[in-house]
Symmetry: C2
Subunit: 150 residues, 2 copies
DNA sequence: GGTGAAAATTTCAACAA
DNA sequence: TTGTTGAAATTTTCACC
């Protein structure tokens, strides 16, 4: 699986916190020379443990300030229904995440749109039109006190 | 609000895709000189549009293969309760996201732990001990057919 | 894992459109 | 205001110990 020592874990923690931390400073924080540190980082990348680096944006300052989660219940639990639903979901850019969950409903979706009006269009014209969908419960995100989505 | 031109949007798109893209290459892709490009990136950072950079990890290769969402209802809706709850949540590394939502409950949390046993410990010993918490509903993530968390 | 040096990049002051 | 040039400061990278 992984097999990481304490230093590797420290490296990951620092890079998740700041993906642009200069290798020199990273080395200092984890107690290695820059070259040894770089070698470890490159190893972590090569092994697929670090999958990439991303800038994180404040989406409220861009157009896409509206976020909601939707719990979706399907009419039945057949594989065919699930596949059809997932296929439709995958095509919709408003859907940023789709999780198949345990519980009273089958799916939890994260939706991002420019505003409530755009959300309503998606809710009605896209989700409302899917024959597999039985119940929709919307939770509008008002604030995110913590958000460490990677 | 934002007021971004096409070049800014291109910069953001590239940096979300690869937060470590060297400024020289970024400049080339958006059609600017390196220094003009750097100035724009620094502006975007200063204006809070770029909020940071993160390494993204393959968590299945680490120990943290268990993911669940929890809907949390509080006893009351006072600001004090919310602040106390959010403070406790922020300290817990298992909590990767905390969203304040509309609906029958107040919060939706995303929890990541190594396995179900660790999750149970968190559920009982951390969340169960918070005096503000009234109701907890767990949704275990079985699969994520789409996941574009940034 | 460390050292040291070459290659590459970031950064910024001065200048131009 | 926005972009460019050029050079110094910093960082990355790698062969060798």
């Amino acid at each position: 699986m992984a097999d990481l020592d304490q230093i590797d874990e420290n490296i990951l923690r620092e890079l998740v916190r700041d993906g642009r931390l200069p290798n020199i400073q990273l080395a200092e924080r984890v107690g290695l020379s820059p070259s040894a540190c770089l070698r470890r980082v490159q190893d972590l990348e090569r092994r697929g443990i670090i999958t990439g680096y991303r800038a994180t944006l404040d989406r409220t300052k861009l157009g896409t300030g509206f976020t909601a989660y939707i719990a979706v219940g399907l009419n039945d639990h057949t594989k065919a229904s699930q596949k059809a639903f997932e296929a439709a979901i995958t095509r919709s850019p408003e859907v940023r995440e789709c999780h198949n969950i345990t519980g009273t409903v089958e799916y939890l979706l994260r939706i991002e749109t420019s505003d409530l009006a755009a959300y309503k269009v998606f809710h009605t014209d896209v989700l409302g039109e899917l024959p597999q969908v039985h119940a929709l419960t919307t939770f509008v995100v008002m604030e995110s006190p913590k958000d460490e989505r990677t």
